[in-house]
Symmetry: C2
């Protein structure tokens, strides 16, 4: 901050401000006739102008354009257009709805409409996209040069999700450098654009994205990602040096920023690239980090000894960054208000001008105020015009371009390059981005002096806004803030990766300990024990847990029963506070607990921390829900109070699985506890250590020893004893179907001494399908299906094990899917680059391998990853994808609980739904589609507990996505949902007649009654 202030002070801020406005007014004059961004002429296409008027029409239309490239059949084009415009409702302008209404029904009309739509979209796209071959690009460049305008070619393309696609991107980059640099060298020099203050500059100029150079750009695995990216980046940079071309590395989402800078710095520090001054990078002024980023770049460039160019932009992902940060609960990385971004841009401009020795300025903006400020700053500093350049977008703002060139600036046009229709993704982003910006300009430029308004300094705007801003109301004391999910750990931040590594080391030093039973206040050791081996490295003993017997079960339930009246009788808020405290402890120990999961259950980093997050969420959510439920439902009438309130059913037996080794036991236990039910926890045999941590935390948080007891052991022995015990009032189970059904049967027996009917909660398996519609965005569908199928090696009840793909897109989907599999690295869970960890134990590995063997015979194997090299280290299983599977095949019906995916072809959506619903389970499901009507159908007819549209089918969040299924997937409870606690609760209604002698205290509350009756006799 000190730096900034000093810099602003140096050239005399008032002089700069005055000059800024003068230059701004000059630019507006040059644009001519008062033409402003509000003028429709600013836009090159009438359609785009039209859509500016109604945000909903705009969104629907652009979504249609986004889907258009995938629509093969003309009828499908008409259907989609109909559906999207129907969603936008009556506000569709006649220009759009008329062709739809007038096109005759049937194939002829369909073809007519489809042709019109494609032509319109292509026309739009052509405004933005410079070409799809080096030759086309060269022709565009020549056209620009004739107007004395420079260019940079930006490579478009589908999202890179396979290594082949990453190779292709590298190849295209090299091809483009070659295709442009040679011919351009032949062209006569144009002083304005081919030279800067230091002399000639490369005429060929390429902008590329690092994320396109690997199928998995994963900041969590920073090192491995950098290695993969650099393998493909170096040949491009070498080619650039060899052909004297400029290469700029573009910026994308905030999550990739740090790793992008890191890779950029690392490669340019390598000897062969160190001295070349024609590399560039981007700084996004909409980021709160922007100035820190510039300082970092400055320090680094000074050390390197060669300058780099910095393209200063505001940033194109503002909506996404806000949405995403909101969704996950992270701090929003961008400035919330436009004026803040503008102000930051100006501060960054000043910084670049002050440090142009190492950071050569390129001002990328269409905002005349921002540009004028940079120019004024340069003038005041006495910096020549050719020592910086201005960059604008191809196809937009041609009047600005002309004005700038006329004023003697080097203008570089950012020129997308690639195939026309697949480039539509880029087009749509641009359209949305620019029209949303447009609406701002429109809104803010009302009044008498629009140009004056537009040229106001951002600080001035900010001061005015601040005056109009109201303070937020304070939270009520004693009232909890509303529930919010624990934000996931942001592993794109190096400090979090460091914390995880440290936690892994720390926990590694504590492996191999012994864990006693926790029965009441006693720590009970037993002769026999359950040994937790690390699945990633079978030689590692995570811990040895005591093994409870039927007698221990009896003791534990005696304690639980005795503790029940006082525990359930405690004020609800006190029980809730135990959960809140436990959440706080888990939050404080988040990385450590996650590290335990990495070792005991082979949970990868992200999933291990997410599991702890979910455990925290359960505590926070159920605590609040209980506080809500504790407020009695009143149905008072004058003279009678009626209160319905809840209390715990009695001792609860909790039998969780190992695959969410903290979250699921914690969720079931926390629900029972907060409801007033003392818990006996019988953890899964594979994850007793995690359960021990849970019980310890709950006790530390204030749960009395008899109220949460720890009883690891063999399910058939101690589990069965607990379920059968007449004192157990609730049995909460999550696990396999077979065990769940047998528990349900056993608990329904009324045994001697039993005083109640037991309540059983059973969450069982799944055979979950994702339907891929023929208009799906395949970039997303392939990634989403793989994430759902291979995440945690498919060991989730929510995992996708069936992809049901519509005929029209089947072949394309299967081939991209198969190609994408190899980048899902199988490896140990403690390595952040492992995408598929080992499975839980040898028994599971063998079972899955047998299922894989069967599956190979039930379809066409399209991916079958060999993990033989890892076989000796742990329980690794290679992913298997089998296509062309019959819906009746075993691999399409039975749960495998491993990284095995069946791909099934469906004729149409009806067929897909029939197949999807045709299994005995009903847990999760998914759909990838861009047809509003299909989305609506699937919403109504895909009968699963949790349905996900256009996203993976795993990763339900507490409260946001209450989780649980039906049919053979469960009895219908929804963990993390509003009704879950009711399973553990009984309700009592207490009615009191408050009328005595014909009078009641509350009679004054009678609404209609003004005053009481008069005295009578």
């Amino acid at each position: 901050m000190a730096t900034t202030e000093r810099m602003q002070a140096a050239p005399g801020p008032r002089a700069v401000e005055e000059r800024t406005r003068e230059i701004g007014r000059e630019l507006f004059r040059r644009i001519g006739g008062g033409a402003s961004p509000l003028d429709r002429a600013w836009w090159d296409d009438q359609l785009m102008g039209l859509t500016m008027d109604d945000p909903e029409v705009k969104v629907q239309l652009f979504r249609f354009i986004d889907a258009l490239p995938t629509l093969v059949e003309p009828a499908s084009v008409r259907r989609h257009l109909n559906e999207y415009l129907a969603e936008a409702g009556v506000r569709v302008p006649a220009l759009l709805s008329m062709p739809l209404a007038m096109a005759p029904p049937g194939p002829v009309g369909d073809r007519m409409l489809a042709g019109m739509a494609r032509a319109a979209a292509t026309r739009m796209a052509r405004r933005f996209i410079t070409g799809s071959t080096p030759q086309e690009a060269f022709r565009t460049v020549l056209g620009l040069r004739r107007k004395r305008v420079a260019f940079t070619a930006d490579l478009l393309g589908e999202a890179v999700i396979t290594e082949a696609e990453a190779d292709a991107y590298r190849h295209t980059c090299i091809e483009l450098i070659r295709g442009l640099a040679g011919p351009l060298a032949e062209e006569p020099e144009i002083r304005l654009i081919d030279r800067d203050e230091h002399g000639p500059i490369p005429r060929a100029n390429l902008s590329l994205k690092l994320t396109s150079l690997t199928a998995r750009f994963d900041p969590t695995a920073a090192e491995a990602t950098a290695d993969r990216v650099l393998d493909r980046l170096r040949p491009i940079l070498r080619e650039a040096i060899a052909r004297w071309a400029f290469v700029n590395v573009d910026m994308e989402q905030y999550a990739y920023k740090d790793l992008t800078y890191a890779i950029f710095r690392r490669v340019l520090d390598e000897a062969e690239f160190r001295a070349y001054p024609h590399f560039g990078i981007v700084c996004q002024a909409y980021l709160r980090d922007a100035e820190a980023d510039l300082r970092m770049l400055l320090g680094w460039a000074e050390g390197r000894g060669t300058p780099v160019t910095v393209r200063l932009v505001k940033g194109a992902y503002w909506d996404y960054e806000v949405l995403h940060a909101r969704q996950v609960g992270w701090p929003i990385p961008v400035w919330a208000r436009k004026w803040e971004t503008d102000a930051c841009y100006e501060r960054c401009s000043d910084f670049l001008l002050d440090h142009r020795r190492w950071l050569r300025p390129a001002f990328g903006s269409h905002n005349l105020r921002s540009l004028a400020h940079a120019m004024a700053g340069a003038e005041v500093r006495g910096i020549p015009t050719d020592s910086y350049e201005v960059q604008i977008l191809h196809g937009m703002g041609d009047p600005i371009r002309r004005a700038l060139v006329g004023r003697g600036h080097r203008v570089r046009v950012y020129s997308p390059y690639g195939a026309m229709l697949p480039g539509m993704a880029y087009l749509v982003r641009r359209l949305l981005e620019n029209t949303s910006n447009e609406s701002f300009l429109k809104a803010s430029a009302q009044g008498d002096a629009p140009i004056g308004e537009l040229l106001k300094s951002p600080q001035e705007v900010g001061t005015m806004r601040a005056l109009a801003t109201r303070a937020r109301p304070e939270a009520e004391p004693g009232v909890l803030p509303p529930f919010a999910n624990q934000p996931p750990v942001d592993f794109s931040r190096a400090e979090n990766r460091d914390r995880m590594r440290a936690a892994l080391e720390e926990v590694r030093s504590r492996l191999g300990r012994e864990y006693p039973l926790l029965i009441g206040p006693d720590e009970v050791r037993t002769g026999d024990s359950l040994v937790s081996e690390s699945p990633s490295d079978a030689s590692l003993i995570v811990g040895r847990s005591a093994k409870a017997t039927r007698d221990h079960a009896d003791r534990a339930l005696s304690g639980a029963e005795a503790a029940y009246p006082s525990w359930s009788g405690r004020p609800d808020r006190e029980r809730a506070d135990v959960l809140l405290k436990a959440a706080a402890i888990m939050r404080a120990r988040l990385f450590e607990l996650a590290a335990w999961e990495v070792f005991e259950c082979a949970k990868p980093w992200q999933e291990a921390t997410a599991d702890v997050d979910e455990a925290i969420d359960f505590c926070e959510f159920y605590a609040r829900r209980m506080i809500d439920l504790a407020d009695p439902r009143r149905r008072d009438v004058a003279g009678e109070t009626n209160r319905l309130s809840y209390f715990g059913r009695g001792p609860a037996v909790v039998i969780p699985p190992w695959n969410f080794p903290l979250a699921i036991p914690c969720g079931m236990t926390a629900a029972a506890l907060v409801a007033g039910c003392p818990v006996v926890l019988k953890p899964a045999e594979q994850s007793p250590v995690m359960a021990w941590h849970l019980v310890s935390i709950l006790r530390e948080a204030g749960a009395p020893p008899e109220v949460v007891q720890y009883l690891p052991g063999v399910g058939e022995e101690v589990g069965a004893a607990l379920v059968e015990d007449p004192r157990a009032a609730v049995v909460a189970f999550t696990g396999s179907r077979a065990v769940g059904l047998s528990i349900n049967r056993s608990a329904a027996e009324t045994r001697p001494g039993q005083r109640h009917v037991k309540r059983v909660i059973a969450e069982m398996g799944g055979k979950n399908a994702i339907i891929v519609d023929d208009d799906a965005d395949l970039d997303e569908a392939v990634v989403g299906v793989l994430a759902s199928a291979l995440g945690y090696a498919g060991q989730k009840c929510s995992a996708c094990s069936r992809a049901i793909v519509l005929d029209g897109v089947y072949d394309a989907f299967v081939s991209r899917l198969a190609e994408a599999v190899p980048s899902w690295t199988v490896g140990p869970a403690d390595d952040p680059d492992s995408a598929v960890p080992p499975v839980i134990d040898a028994e599971a590995r063998d079972r899955i391998e047998r299922a894989k063997a069967d599956a190979r015979s039930e379809g066409r194997v399209v991916a079958d990853v060999d993990v033989d090299p890892l076989r000796d280290r742990g329980h690794y299983v290679g992913p298997l994808i089998v296509a062309d599977v019959d819906p009746k095949a075993r691999v399409a019906r039975e749960e495998i609980f491993g990284p095995v995916l069946a791909v099934i072809r469906a004729n149409d959506l009806d067929d897909a739904l029939r197949i999807a619903n045709g299994v005995e389970y009903a847990l999760t499901g998914g759909l990838y589609s861009r047809s509003p009507a299909h989305i609506e159908r699937v919403r109504g007819s895909f009968l699963v507990g949790n349905l996900y549209i256009n996203r993976p089918c795993t990763g339900a969040l507490v409260d946001r996505q209450p989780f649980g299924g039906f049919r053979m997937s469960g009895i219908g409870t929804k963990a993390g949902g509003p009704d879950y606690l009711l399973e553990f609760l009984l309700a009592r209604c207490v009615t009191e007649n408050t009328m005595r002698r014909g009078f009641a205290p509350d009679v004054d509350e009678l609404a209609e009654v003004e005053v009481r009756g008069d005295v009578g006799i």
Copy 2:
């Protein structure tokens, strides 16, 4: 109305109004020194004055006084005083709290405090109560005569709940007439009070209540009640004629008004009473009926040929009438606003003055405006002052009395007579009534001219108020009004008794028909049938219902399963509309359906109509609840929508009992239907005809035939088949514990072809207790326990079968209880005077008689009603009450389901709670207590599904008292409660990622964000 207008017009309203104000001002002057009701001197006791300031303190203090007579132990007095004042909180005036704080702890202090409290209460009571022996009364009367004031003696007493008490009341009346009339005849005549315009009038004057002349004043059984009352009234009236005394019949609650007038008219039309002119009755001007009542009385008196006196009062039950009407949902019978009552009083005054030939006016009021209006009306009409009298209350308003006497009016003081402390009930009513009135006067008399305000005409007040009244908001179209319970049939109205009688006749003509199975659209007849005999008259065959087999169960479930997708897929509102329509049909057929219940199940009138009401309530409530649940729970974040919604689980098997033959099957069926579950209804073998009506009504209301099917038959055969069927998704059962547990066990088996885990709802038995605290109001406790134990012959799962009575009140309770039993007439259900109908069938009778035989040996038999004379007619069982029962005795543990009550002595409240909770059931419970602390303890520690304080433990209302228990009483569902439908529902969560290309339609909704980001590159 026409009459009223004419009358008002006659004397010139303006003249009357002017004269009214003059007289009013004169009266105020005579009261002296501007003294007004606001003056503390108006009150005779400082304590009463104090309490005027705070309504809460007032209520608590008067409640304490109400309980005081029952508090035997001094420590108990202190405890109660503490508890009541604690509830009133810090606002207790020092004058009250100081003695409590200063009295030393321990017995001495307790005695001191108790003595002070009793002395204070007695002092207060003495202001109101004239004496407790004829001699005391006579002394009071002489004192009044010295002040030239007349009197009427009003007989106080506990509520009459036994025939012995009714006899005692009659005896006291006669004794008082004798004790006063003789001695008074000896006194010298006082012209002002001993003569009217016609000559001498009786000096002895008695006011009595008809409800005290029978243990059961039941307007439903109007004829039988009248007979019982007249048996005791005639001797009193004869005595009055013989001794030349005046007898006035007082008015009480509105519900008794019509029957009171009817009895009054009937007896005075009898030859021996016809010519005596010294009988009187009351007209309550706060009733909307008041003028109609006067017209009725006028017509009747003209016909009789002898005048009666009419005491015109405003009415003393205003709070009660409003509360009670609100509670049951009847129209409020009293005027809502004070000015309306005042205006009605003036209209009635005019009517009486105009018709004083037949209705001799007695104006009972303390309101000077009302009295002045009557006096002015008399003056203007030229009516002499001695042709009407003014009546006021003893102990209140002495200044008024003096003023009136001074002005030459005959003033009669209404003088309560009876024992001092038991008369406290009267005292408390008066205190509450008058202090609530006082607060009105206080509130309205602010300002400069309080007297002018107080003398304003009611119409003037009304006009001003009307201007300040706002219109109610209109209901939204398409939105249902909030749920309201169906109001019970008001059998105090003759038209409803007539409708019930007509319905019984109509249904009687349709008995004996055959009822086929209803399987889909088919009516299936079977060889064998279930025969419904009328329990009241075994020779009457109500109907013959077909008997379903396992094959029929299979057919029905096939249909249900096939219908499930389309039924559950219908819009929720459509399914809800079926219920609403069914409710409308039942409402239209209410009396007819109730009549069927009378015949098939021996439900008495009130209970039969209440059962239909409850069926209507279930439909109305579940329809609304489903509409609420149909609105998905949203957890949207920008870029992602999350909707949690519900749908039906699948085919439901409904197995109801016979004891609420419409309500319970309707409730379970309606819940299933509206949730989307097609129902197969297997009715109880004893009440298939009622179930047939239910199914017919639901189909008529729009439920498709496959969606509600009727399958009467034998439980072990067709019931078992339905429960076992793999297609049944829900089993909803209400009935015995043994069957419930076996259903639960059977349903937990997963059978071949089963695709889900079944959900079982089982409502089972009860062994319900009412605790009677030693400070309970025995009037209410005895009646409440008997109503709970004997209502519908104890055949309710909610019935009270244990009275747990605290030692201090045990003997008194048991003796009053035993004495009260005989007035619970056992008889056929179609006779409205039957309080205890026969039990459902011969098997039940025999079972209950066996249990009674056992019970007699388990305690001291205190009531054992012989029903031998009825034995041949039907399945009658005489009530049995056994006292001194051990809590471990069978009669104290096992459900009998008949009119058998065990009375158990408890040492203290802890003991009582231990006994109450010490059974295997936990359905309903009750408490009668006037200790705030005990009420609080029992609220928290009496663990039953439905707890009722100071009222009977049966008669739960839908929504207001969600019904159901736990332990062996049920799995914990609450019928008619907010969570009930969830048992039939599954939840689905649908998540849609709405972000595409980094943009989402709802991004504009981001709250913090002012505008979007600027264009970048």
